[in-house]
């Protein structure tokens, strides 16, 4: 094991141990104050916003955004913008009323607003689906991180380690009460990207290398690329390299000379490029640096549809994510909830500048990741690639690995807690709802996605996450928005809308998760279903509610008033008594 690997592994271990230890201390703290909800309500908006951001910034944000920018250029910027804008939609339409409803999960809200056990049960199912789908890339990210910093370890070891740590933390600790751990992890992630970003900007400022070249990127050093999945590469000028594997259908071992055009490489091949060679780019991605700099530069005729669908999914999906809503409940009242959300917008905006910058820089320093289609590793490899193998670069790489690990741990713990909380309070599954049931539920909600992570195809993290966003936007967004703002929503309408949106988006997403991509319109729809499924769900909910108007609850106006009236009027009746 190299010294760099030892440093990185130690950093990862420190983060994992620290979270578990602080988590178990947090439980003792929560027990002393006898009610962790009340305890957490003494937390101000800034600390709370730190916790929300800490839980929200996952592998997709920490690793995935930079990787997609390396691949797609400005089109990928819609991911971080959407991840942030989702909080604006949450602020505008959901945050304060949801807090006033006293519900802290969507099933709770459905029960409050519609008093229908059927809708509640359906919501529970979707919380579990979304939670598991979101957990998948987190665990895969843990695997990727371990496999990147220690090339001798297999990816599954990282996944299993992360899964075990997360399940143990939740079962023995319960991260929910520990706002400060999450806030700490936000600042850890921020530092882990900010420090390399600052160092690299100073370094790059010294020897400026232009982005805008009408040519593909070049390998900055001699690079060896292992191809893990079959790929079609395109070159625009002749390339000579050493290869071992099946290239263009021919078994090759030795020097290869590629003429401009498309070339197929089967998995298992090993390609060795010398420094200065043009990088072959996978088919469908912008090839020249100058076209990579401009928006909508890909080949697909449906990319505009894809971007709008992504905007729809991320803008409207955030409000339906299970771990996001639970966090908002720790605010004392609706007004504080709004202020917290505004601070979250500031924190996320500041954070996402960093992966954007690092993603652009990785085009210069780690373009070989494009060939192996492993761009999610860009942030992890960038410090050593740009600064050389010195001690400082090694430490920076260790810091980045620790930050990435913090990203998986905090998001996964939040998700496992959210899913387990919903599972264990669902009367049909755990009729008693004891702490023991919660622990059993936590194990279930961690082990199942771990199994899935070991078998499912690995898409880019941000893409997998955006699939979860699409399902959330097609199910919970219409339910929450119509439930909060429209007095005409009935239980039947909600049920029908949830089913239409959920089955359509969930089906599409499952097909893409298992690697089905027929290409063309259908492929785009399977990958980015939100632009169709979200309006469909809204429409179904509205139309069916109008048809079943007789089922309206008699006290809907009062329910809505409780959601919107300020707390000082004393209408909400859900105040937990304050201590002191």
């Amino acid at each position: 094991m190299t010294p760099a690997a030892v440093v990185a592994l130690s950093c990862i271990a420190i983060v994992a141990v620290a979270s578990t230890v602080i988590g178990s201390f947090g439980v003792r703290f929560a027990r002393n104050t006898s009610d962790f909800l009340v305890a957490s309500r003494t937390v101000g908006p800034t600390a709370n916003a730190g916790a929300i951001s800490g839980e929200y910034l996952s592998a997709a944000s920490f690793l995935g955004v930079a990787g997609l920018i390396l691949k797609y250029g400005p089109d990928a910027l819609w991911y971080p913008v959407g991840f942030t804008a989702g909080y604006l939609a949450l602020l505008l339409f959901v945050s304060a009323p949801l807090r006033r409803s006293g519900a802290y999960t969507v099933p709770d809200f459905a029960e409050f607003r519609l008093r229908s056990p059927g809708v509640q049960r359906l919501c529970t199912v979707f919380v579990i689906i979304i939670g598991w789908m979101y957990l998948l890339p987190q665990l895969q990210g843990a695997g990727l991180t371990v496999a990147t910093v220690v090339p001798t370890l297999p990816a599954w070891s990282g996944m299993v380690a992360a899964g075990v740590v997360v399940i143990a933390t939740v079962v023995f600790g319960g991260m929910r009460s520990i706002t400060f751990v999450q806030a700490f992890q936000f600042w850890l992630k921020f530092t882990a990207l900010a420090l390399p970003a600052v160092v690299l900007v100073i370094y790059v400022g010294g020897n400026h290398q232009p982005f805008n070249r009408p040519a593909p990127p070049q390998f900055p050093t001699d690079s060896s690329v292992a191809i893990k999945t079959d790929v079609v590469l395109r070159v625009t000028q002749p390339v000579t390299f050493e290869a071992d594997g099946v290239l263009d259908g021919v078994r090759t071992d030795g020097l290869v000379n590629w003429v401009p055009g498309r070339h197929t490489v089967l998995s298992g091949a090993q390609l060795n490029f010398t420094a200065g060679t043009s990088v072959p780019i996978p088919d469908g991605l912008p090839i020249r640096d100058s076209s990579w700099l401009t928006p909508l530069s890909g080949d697909s005729p449906y990319q505009l549809f894809g971007i709008y669908s992504l905007i729809m999914a991320t803008f409207l999906g955030t409000m339906g994510l299970p771990h996001v809503l639970v966090r908002f409940y720790t605010n004392p009242d609706g007004r504080a909830t709004r202020r917290t959300t505004v601070v979250v917008l500031a924190f996320l905006g500041a954070f996402y500048l960093l992966p954007t910058l690092l993603g652009a820089l990785s085009r210069l320093y780690v373009p070989q990741l494009l060939v192996s289609n492993n761009t999610d590793a860009a942030v992890l490899l960038l410090p050593t690639a740009a600064l050389g193998g010195g001690m400082f670069a090694t430490l920076l790489a260790g810091l980045v690995a620790a930050g990435a690990w913090a990203a998986f741990l905090s998001t996964s713990s939040g998700l496992v807690v959210g899913v387990a909380g919903v599972l264990s309070t669902s009367p049909s599954l755990f009729p008693r709802g004891t702490v023991r049931d919660f622990r059993v539920a936590a194990v279930i909600s961690g082990v199942v996605p771990l199994g899935l992570a070991l078998v499912a195809a690995r898409l880019d993290f941000s893409q997998t996450v955006s699939l979860a966003f699409a399902v959330a936007a097609s199910t919970f967004c219409p339910l929450l928005v119509l439930g909060i703002w429209w007095s005409g929503l009935t239980d039947r309408g909600a049920m029908a809308g949830l089913l239409v949106g959920g089955v359509a988006s969930g089906g599409a997403v499952t097909l893409s998760l298992f690697g089905l991509d027929p290409g063309g319109w259908v492929g785009m729809l399977l990958n980015r279903p939100a632009l169709i499924t979200v309006p469909a769900a809204f429409l179904t909910m509205t139309v069916v509610s109008k048809l079943t108007r007789k089922r309206l609850l008699p006290d809907v106006p009062r329910l809505l008033l409780r959601l919107h009236a300020p707390e000082r009027l004393g209408l909400s009746q859900d105040r937990v008594r304050r201590f002191g």
Binding site: L91, L92, L293, I311, P332, D333, V576
Partner: protein
Amino acid sequence: MSSDGRVPSVVSDEYPEPADPPVPPGAARRPGGELGPDQDGDLVPDESPIQLRRELRRRVGNGPGPADLAGPDTTPGDRPLSSPGRHARRDGQPRPPRLDYVPRHAVRTPGPGSVPVSPTDVTEVFSRVRQDPTERPMSARPESEPIRLIAPVLPLAAPPVPSLEPEPESVAPGKRERVVLSQRKGQTRPVRTVVDVQELTQVGEVLSSSLIRSQLALALRIGGIALITLGSLPAMFVIFPVLGRFELFGLRLPWLLLGVLAYPFLLALGWWYARSAERLEQVFADHIQN
């Protein structure tokens, strides 16, 4: 004033709500204080009704009892400590807490370890709002202050208020005002509009649906600005490809807009919304309480 859909404000938040934990005790907010962005210039009280009310209160002597003054958020300087007056409660005790007050968490939104709730429990808690017609409705300020404010007499059959303009005259000086004193023995006289809203009488329903509509209009307006601004970008880049090559401050326009400027833009919209929504709520609460 109504250009942004706000209800015109005539009364300020003279007595801040008790449920406001970020404000530490002793830092009671006063009009014109510097705590938080919600203290707007145009929410500074109209002098005349406040003066009038103070005068009335002084004459009636209906100040809060000492127990109330001990509350963390009261502003002692504003209230006389003189005799509670003829109509005040004889015993001088603060009102006992409502016996039927059930914290919702006792039964709803259980934590992972709590006993599951059947829907009937919840309905029962909810229906506690008012079962007995003679029961006093919940006080507007349940934790610290008895009801003793002055309510404007609202026209009972208020016309529907589509544009959120409440009766602007209702607290104007010189108008008749109805003085509602503290609880009298054996009889209750709660603030008219609070009851209206709680009971969702015609007036109450108009008031509350106007609040919801104004909040929705605000949210839709700001959401629309965000959606149109950001949503038009991909189309613009397709229609005018030159935009994608345009450079500003050494950055390509798409990178500058999406990579940098989108975040302060979203933050500014969020901040604007939080501020305006708070103001709408404040005006609504003041309106029905005073």
